[in-house]
């Protein structure tokens, strides 16, 4: 059975966020902020959560390697800058040690005696929003495959890498479907690379979450992104159900026209992989 490998420091897994940074990501969502800013906030929060999951009293354990690729204009770029600019994928402890900056935010917390207190917490930022030019999605798929081919070779016994792809626009450098197919043929002994897609469409259609067929999607482009996405493994299917989504056999890791809350849920579900040990 694939997607069963336990995640350990000896056998980490990888999460690669592939984020559309084309001009159309400037459009404003229902909460009044741009898609680019919303996605950047969720990527930062997800990195924070991944670090928290790996943090023990004695330090941050390298259960995960993570990276961010942004694509927009004429290029695919490393979304992690500063000390992390030298490579795409990094052990999570290195990410923990190298945020671009650390903001202060207020958070309500349990006081341990049945009440709530407001406490200042630090909120690190690794990934800033950007939106410019066209949508070189083929280049992005090619670059992701390049990174993950090496990773799979180096980690044959690991839970396979997960790609979390966020886009709102049509590819402007060709049809990425075959490249995505090739990316999803990369594998470890525990299964093939998982591609999960969040399509922040500009069309006003109703959202569609984890569909098993493309028939309910409104256009050829969303149908192509559906086909590029992987079927959900059993564990992610169960987690999606726990989060209140209706899933069925064959449901794919694809959400069309997600709202603000669902963007957060998509990242949460997509990064819950296997058990840590």
């Amino acid at each position: 059975m694939p997607y069963q490998a336990e995640i350990s420091r000896s056998h980490p897994t990888a999460f690669l966020f592939v984020v559309d940074q084309s001009l159309s990501m400037q459009s404003i969502m229902s909460n009044g902020i741009s898609k680019a800013q919303q996605v950047a906030d969720v990527v930062n929060r997800t990195l924070f959560t991944l670090i928290t999951r790996c943090t023990k009293a004695e330090g941050t354990r390298d259960y995960f390697e993570v990276g961010v690729l942004g694509y927009g204009g004429s290029e695919v770029r490393n979304g992690l800058q500063g000390k992390l600019a030298g490579a795409v994928l990094h052990p999570i402890s290195r990410v923990e040690a190298s945020p671009l900056r650390v903001d202060e935010r207020m958070k309500k917390m349990d006081d341990g005696a049945g009440g709530l207190i407001e406490q200042s917490i630090k909120f690190p930022i690794w990934f800033d929003p950007q939106s410019e030019g066209v949508t070189p999605m083929c280049q992005a798929m090619y670059r992701a495959a390049d990174e993950l081919a090496d990773w799979c070779d180096a980690h044959p016994g690991s839970y396979p890498p997960t790609v979390l792809h966020v886009t709102d626009g049509e590819s402007t450098d060709g049809n990425p479907e075959q490249l995505a197919e090739r990316l999803c043929q990369l594998e470890t002994e525990d299964g093939a690379v998982l591609m999960l897609t969040l399509h922040l469409s500009t069309a006003g259609n109703d959202p569609l979450r984890f569909p098993a067929a493309e028939s309910g999607l409104p256009d050829e482009y969303s149908k192509m992104l559906f086909r590029m996405s992987s079927p959900l493994p059993d564990r992610l299917m169960a987690i999606a159900q726990e989060e209140g989504f209706q899933v069925e056999k064959g449901s794919k890791g694809f959400i069309f026209n997600a709202d603000v809350v669902e963007i957060v849920q998509f990242f949460d579900i997509g990064t819950r992989a296997s058990e840590l040990r």
Binding site: E6, R9, T55, K56, T60, D110, R277
Partner: protein, 242 residues
């Protein structure tokens, strides 16, 4: 009561010091406890150690007992002095099971308290199982267990009526038969119950484990054949034969 055997096997042989199970004994008082600290939590090792020590000191496990344990855990850390990554991890909480045994010689009984997915088994001298607690079937280990959390909001189910009564059981151990109680954390508990359900004399096999190399070999073989989930393993054998 005496501890006839107590051994542990870490989940990752590359990191033997990172075992997050804990055990504690006070044989003169007839008390023993094991705890399984959840892997995905901030400091489950300290939390598990604290729980077993507290059970040895005070076996009346209830909400007050738990509140005192949480207060003791929190007093060990200065939240505001922690780095940001530790603050959030600390706030998510640490989680652990507790299996506590108390021998009551006058009543010729063993009282078993179990919260979470550790397993206690009462067997006789020929390895015949009389009782198990808290799970009776291997398939129940697939559920998400209720654990003790250092985060009070995660313990709300424990505040339900009769929670602690329903997680405590008393077993008669009439003389002169030499009874044995096996205590084990979840990976071994699931493995043992599953094989018992298939008719394998697994309790006799566990009775025969009397040193650490024996436990290491049993666990290594089961892991290698993917027959036992890879997790920290604790096995304790308590004898009531004196």
């Amino acid at each position: 009561m005496r501890v006839a055997f107590a051994g542990q096997v870490p989940k990752d042989p590359a990191y033997p010091d990172d075992i997050e199970d804990a055990m504690a004994f006070a044989t003169e008082a007839g008390r023993a406890a094991i705890s399984d600290g959840a892997s995905e939590s901030y400091d489950s090792r300290s939390w598990a150690q604290l729980l077993v020590r507290r059970f040895i000191a005070d076996t009346r496990v209830d909400l007050r007992w738990l509140d005192e344990a949480i207060a003791a855990y929190r007093s060990q850390r200065d939240f505001t002095g922690l780095p940001w990554s530790h603050q959030d991890a600390f706030d998510r909480g640490s989680f652990a099971s507790l299996l506590g045994i108390e021998y009551l010689p006058r009543e010729q009984q063993v009282r078993v308290c179990c919260v979470g997915d550790s397993l206690a088994v009462l067997i006789n001298r020929v390895g015949c199982r009389r009782h198990t607690f808290q799970y009776l079937l291997a398939e129940l280990f697939g559920r998400r267990p209720q654990l003790f959390s250092t985060h009070p909001a995660r313990n709300t189910r424990l505040a339900g009526p009769g929670f602690f009564d329903s997680h405590t059981e008393s077993w008669p151990i009439p003389r002169p038969e030499p009874w044995v109680v096996l205590c084990m954390t979840d990976a071994m508990g699931e493995w043992a119950l599953r094989h018992d359900e298939c008719g394998r004399p697994v309790w006799s096999e566990l009775l025969a484990v009397d040193d650490q190399p024996g436990l290491d070999a049993l666990v290594a073989e089961a892991r290698q054949s993917r027959d036992m989930r890879v997790d920290d393993v604790t096995l304790v054998r308590l004898s009531f034969d004196d």
